[in-house]
């Protein structure tokens, strides 16, 4: 039982990571309607840029380097969309082709990152934090900061979507593009804002993953891509609150699973959920009203 609660705590930490990333992925999917296979590499880019600012150039403090890196990933996402993904999506109506283009982006980013940062395991330059007992859980102070930050980001996204004009426009665009266009919303601008937020959240998710795992490699975020898909699909594709709930479920499931099955299959729990859900309940557990 004791072990279960420790894994449960790790699950909550993973849920924080997955929630950050899944929210960004679902925001982007809501407006573009194709799946971005390079999203895992966006996450990796966040962690790698943090490493670069923290260890290689400028030698910034980790907590200053992280937000700068996340913003850079947001800018990168906007540029990648403007130069590459949006032109292909406009020209070819077939989503499978756009998916192959994002596949190519993933391959490109992963290989360029390998050239720059090598395939070795990297570590952030930050004080070693020792795990502390909090109730039945075992968390390091860094992980606790990441979890608190993730909750804060979720609340901010909620406020942005529900109380601001920008959030309303984003929701309108996600629900019905042509209706949003006719009511005078600047679709291009909102699309850019959404891609920026998607990249920003991917970057934050990638950094959080590296903090949780206490190290990073150029491919460590890529293997989490389908775990994040699982959270997004579980909550209903395009639904932000669904993604948050899905992240909680997926985080807890993948981290407590090693108590019952071979730990090598930890992430496969997520992959398996993707397969079963898309087969039997593609609308997710919390379907969005008014969408077919």
């Amino acid at each position: 039982m004791h072990l279960f609660w420790i894994d449960f705590g790790t699950g909550l930490a993973t849920a924080a990571v997955v929630a950050l990333a899944a929210t960004g992925l679902t925001l982007q999917f809501g407006i573009t309607n194709y799946i971005n296979f390079a999203y895992g590499d966006f996450m990796g880019l966040g962690a790698l840029l943090t490493f670069a600012l923290n260890n290689q150039a400028f030698h910034l403090n980790f907590w200053i380097a992280a937000p700068i890196a996340a913003i850079l990933v947001g800018v990168f996402a906007v540029i990648a969309n403007q130069l590459l993904l949006a032109p292909f999506a406009r020209r070819f109506s077939n989503p499978a082709l756009t998916m192959i283009v994002t596949f190519g982006l993933s391959l490109f980013m992963a290989n360029v990152a390998t050239v720059i940062w090598t395939g070795n395991t990297l570590f952030f330059r930050m004080p070693i934090s020792v795990d502390k007992k909090v109730g039945p859980f075992l968390w390091s102070p860094d992980v606790m900061i990441v979890m608190g930050f993730a909750v804060l980001v979720m609340v901010m996204i909620h406020l942005l979507l529900k109380t601001t004009r920008l959030g309303k426009m984003m929701r309108a665009l996600s629900d019905n593009t042509s209706l949003a266009l006719t009511s005078g919303i600047d679709v291009r601008q909102i699309t850019n804002v959404t891609w920026f937020m998607s990249g920003l959240l991917a970057g934050l998710g990638g950094i959080a993953l590296a903090v949780e795992e206490a190290n990073l490699t150029v491919t460590s975020a890529e293997s989490y891509l389908f775990v994040i898909f699982a959270a997004v699909i579980l909550g209903g594709i395009g639904s932000v609150y669904g993604a948050m709930l899905g992240a909680l479920a997926i985080g807890l499931l993948t981290e407590t699973a090693p108590l019952y099955i071979n730990a090598g299959y930890k992430l496969d729990v997520g992959f398996f959920i993707v397969i079963v859900l898309l087969l039997f309940r593609p609308q997710g557990l919390v379907p969005r009203l008014g969408r077919s």
């Binding site: 989503p95 082709l97 283009v101 596949f103 360029v112 050239v115 898909f229 992430l267």
Partner: protein, 339 residues
């Protein structure tokens, strides 16, 4: 001469093998319209089965062993593995094509490939986990008493004969009534269903043939390397085969040869040779792999019909009365949303 010649023949071998692989993906993706992102899984299954069928029985010890052990000759193990993989591909298709649309199908296919990849890493009873299969026998080598270099030259010829046969079969299938149904499903599955074709059944058949081609390619890869393990393949390598199809020209049999040759010579085998013999650093190889992504974008944007475009075929062409029309088919039409 001989080191370079060996490299050259190995490269020719890879070109032939990936010609076979891209013929199969071309049938499933560009001619039937199924985004088969799990294609490389079938390559791997074919490789594993070829190994398992041709290795002798080894009792399981410390996680290394071989449950099967049919000890078949390699030349026989290869087609047998391909048939079994084709049946496996039909089974996977039957389960997933039943309910899924194109984009969800693509995601599920990658997820299936990832699960089986993880299984091949963790399971030590069936395929020895990360150790994988080793000492896969070189077909014919024992009978003819030749060394590994001579064997490579000989087996490149064997692969070429296989490729020519498979190319001829693909050409025949493509021009047959079945091939026309495949293309009709790609262009508009609703229309194909309206004229009374069982779309689902034809899609499964297409997956089966694709799985057979993938497995032949995989079997050749495993036999050349004499080993196969989880680091020999990754589900995402399917992107390279997709690029070969797009660059070569979707729906074109000879285009697949062009695509496979271009990628293998300029972006995969060539850079590996240059990097290991002249530069002594893997950076060039990694950059070449990154360039495959750029090649695919440029090819899709500036020449979406590919190097050797698919030609529209009229009824008169099928009856042998006039040459094929010269217009090319827009690849945007190649994959149609399922109703």
């Amino acid at each position: 001469m001989s080191a370079f010649f060996l490299f050259f023949m190995t490269m020719v071998f890879y070109v032939i093998v990936f010609w076979i692989a891209s013929l199969g993906l071309d049938l499933v993706w560009s001619r039937t319209g199924i985004p088969l992102f799990a294609y490389y899984l079938y390559v791997a299954v074919g490789a594993y089965l070829t190994g398992l069928f041709s290795l002798p029985h080894v009792p399981l010890q410390n996680g290394v062993g071989n449950l099967f052990g049919f000890n078949l000759p390699g030349l026989l193990a290869l087609p047998l593995a391909a048939v079994v993989t084709g049946l496996f591909a039909m089974f996977v298709g039957a389960v997933f094509m039943r309910r899924l649309r194109t984009d969800y199908l693509a995601v599920v296919m990658v997820a299936v490939a990832l699960v089986i990849w993880d299984f091949s890493q963790n399971d030590i009873t069936l395929v020895s986990g990360n150790t994988g299969l080793t000492n896969i026998p070189l077909p014919l080598a024992g009978v003819l008493h030749i060394n590994i270099n001579q064997w490579t030259y000989l087996y490149t010829g064997v692969a070429f004969v296989w490729a020519l046969a498979l190319w001829w079969i693909m050409k025949t299938v493509s021009n047959s009534p079945t091939g026309r149904v495949f293309r009709a499903i790609r262009d508009d599955s609703v229309v194909a269903a309206t004229i009374g074709k069982n779309v689902y059944r034809y899609q499964i058949l297409s997956m089966g043939i694709g799985g057979f081609y993938a497995a032949i390619a995989g079997g050749f890869l495993a036999q050349l390397a004499t080993s196969w393990n989880p680091s020999s393949w990754a589900p995402f390598e399917v992107f390279n085969v997709f690029t070969m199809v797009i660059v070569g020209g979707v729906g074109s049999n000879l285009g697949m040869l062009v695509g496979a040759a271009l990628l293998q010579v300029l972006f995969i085998q060539g850079p590996t040779y240059v990097a290991s013999n002249y530069l002594h650093s893997p950076t060039f190889e990694t950059l070449a792999a990154a360039a495959i992504g750029v090649l695919m974008w440029l090819s899709l944007w500036f020449r979406p019909q590919g190097a050797v475009p698919e030609r529209l075929k009229s009824t008169a062409w099928y009856l042998g009365r006039e040459p094929a029309l010269q217009e090319t088919i827009n690849p945007d039409l190649t994959v149609e949303e399922r109703a």
